[in-house]
């Protein structure tokens, strides 16, 4: 168990827990951390439509609220390189994944 230096609002953790897609994206980016990957690759791995994944990452109209997107929350960073956009878990996002893992049973049972 690591000593944490950053705090995340438990309300954010709980809302992430309730969103299966956001959780799957975070877990995949954690798996390949510190590498970055592109949107269609994430969509393929998590088994979802690229537009849904884009919504979860950066927000998309009314369907996905930008303010609860993974990039807006600071959990994922968007990197532009050679005209392509890549996504990578931030250090903060890595800590959130650890929390989500440790609280998995608790959230399943109590939330």
């Amino acid at each position: 168990m690591a000593v944490r230096t950053m705090i995340i609002d438990p309300q954010v953790l709980r809302s992430l827990h309730r969103s299966e897609l956001r959780k799957r994206i975070l877990l995949y980016l954690n798996e390949i951390y510190p590498s970055a990957t592109y949107l269609s690759e994430i969509a393929r791995v998590v088994g979802s439509d690229p537009s849904n994944v884009r919504g979860a990452l950066v927000g998309l109209g009314n369907r996905y609220n930008g303010e609860s997107s993974l990039v807006y929350l600071g959990l994922v960073e968007e990197i532009t390189n050679g005209g392509f956009k890549y996504y990578r878990l931030t250090e903060y996002g890595k800590q959130v994944v650890e929390y989500l893992r440790e609280y998995y049973r608790y959230y399943r049972k109590f939330m």
Partner: protein, 324 residues
């Protein structure tokens, strides 16, 4: 090497700073909600409750009592008066390197909760319940400050491989911490009444494959059968009334082997001036009673008739050794 004296002194410096920061936030709350403005007219309690438009009047009354306990207001002939309170915020040079950043963010979260608690104590943004908000408590228990006081307890107890530990009010992080220290030759029993907190502790201990036993139980009901080298009581007594903690400490001492140690770590109230400011925020947890007085704890232990040596260390630690 870290000596117990040095470690306790760092714990104390951080608690001292928590209290100072809590005073600032009390003043901020009084200003933000217009409470000081009303108080400047020397009102009665009732007039404050009626003039300040906060729905949770019980918490507002608690706030006024806190102002009185700190000495920001005084009551004369039924009227409340601001009395020119002043307080110096000191950060002594020698303590600069002792201040840990982790607790600041968790206390900031709690300061924010007060605004919602002023609406209703059951507001969803108030995250202080041990079961409902076990994730927030776990975040508090995994800060650098929490890690520091666990280390302080471990050094004060002389904890090592092969020893047995009973931890009352163990929370979610201590079982893994102490379990790792005692190892497979020793054993660790943690007791906590929050099933949600224990669920997190269990998940962590299983992930690390540690030999810890966790029991969901109100510490007031413990009747331990094993004998232990060390018993730990940290940040627990403030949730118990003096009569209750007397009984709990008696049963805990009964479980110690001869020469065993009981380590109590608490911000003892006579050691930290204005600690009522910090207590105001902790009271968002409905079970919080108040930080204990060290002298009361010592008297309680002495009154139980055990042959013990009691060593106060710093301002927040008591080491009780059961004579062989």
């Amino acid at each position: 090497m870290d000596t117990v004296e040095r470690l306790v002194s760092v714990v104390d410096s951080n608690i001292e700073q928590m209290v100072r920061m809590a005073i600032l936030h009390i003043i901020q709350l009084g200003t933000k909600h217009g409470i000081f403005k009303v108080l400047s007219r020397e009102p009665t309690y009732q007039e404050v409750l009626d003039s300040v438009g906060l729905p949770n009047r019980r918490l507002l009354l608690e706030f006024l009592n806190t102002l009185k306990a700190i000495g920001i207001i005084e009551e004369k002939e039924g009227r409340l008066k601001l009395n020119g309170f002043s307080c110096t915020l000191k950060v002594p040079q020698e303590h600069y390197d002792s201040l840990l950043p982790g607790w600041v963010s968790t206390l900031e979260e709690i300061y924010r909760m007060v605004d919602y608690a002023f609406i209703t104590p059951t507001h969803p943004h108030v995250l202080m319940d041990f079961d409902k908000d076990a994730d927030f408590w776990d975040i508090r228990m995994t800060t650098d400050f929490a890690d520091l006081y666990r280390k302080t307890i471990s050094v004060a107890a002389g904890l090592g491989q092969g020893m047995s530990v009973l931890d009352l009010g163990c929370g979610s992080a201590a079982p893994s911490y102490f379990g790792r220290i005692v190892g497979y030759d020793g054993f660790y029993t943690g007791v906590d009444y929050s099933s949600a907190i224990l669920e997190i502790a269990k998940s962590r201990a299983e992930t690390d494959n540690l030999p810890v036993e966790l029991k969901e139980l109100d510490v007031r009901l413990i009747r331990p059968v094993n004998e232990y080298d060390v018993a730990v009581v940290s940040y627990l007594l403030e949730y118990l009334k003096p009569d209750d903690y007397g009984r709990v400490l008696k049963r805990t001492l009964e479980t110690l082997k001869p020469g065993g140690r009981l380590i109590i770590l608490e911000p003892f109230r006579e050691e930290f001036k204005h600690i009522e400011a910090l207590e105001f925020f902790e009271k968002l947890n409905k079970d919080f009673v108040g930080f204990p007085r060290r002298n009361d704890v010592i008297r309680t232990i002495e009154g139980n008739g055990f042959d013990v040596s009691i060593e106060p260390l710093g301002r927040s630690l008591l080491r009780v050794t059961l004579m062989p």
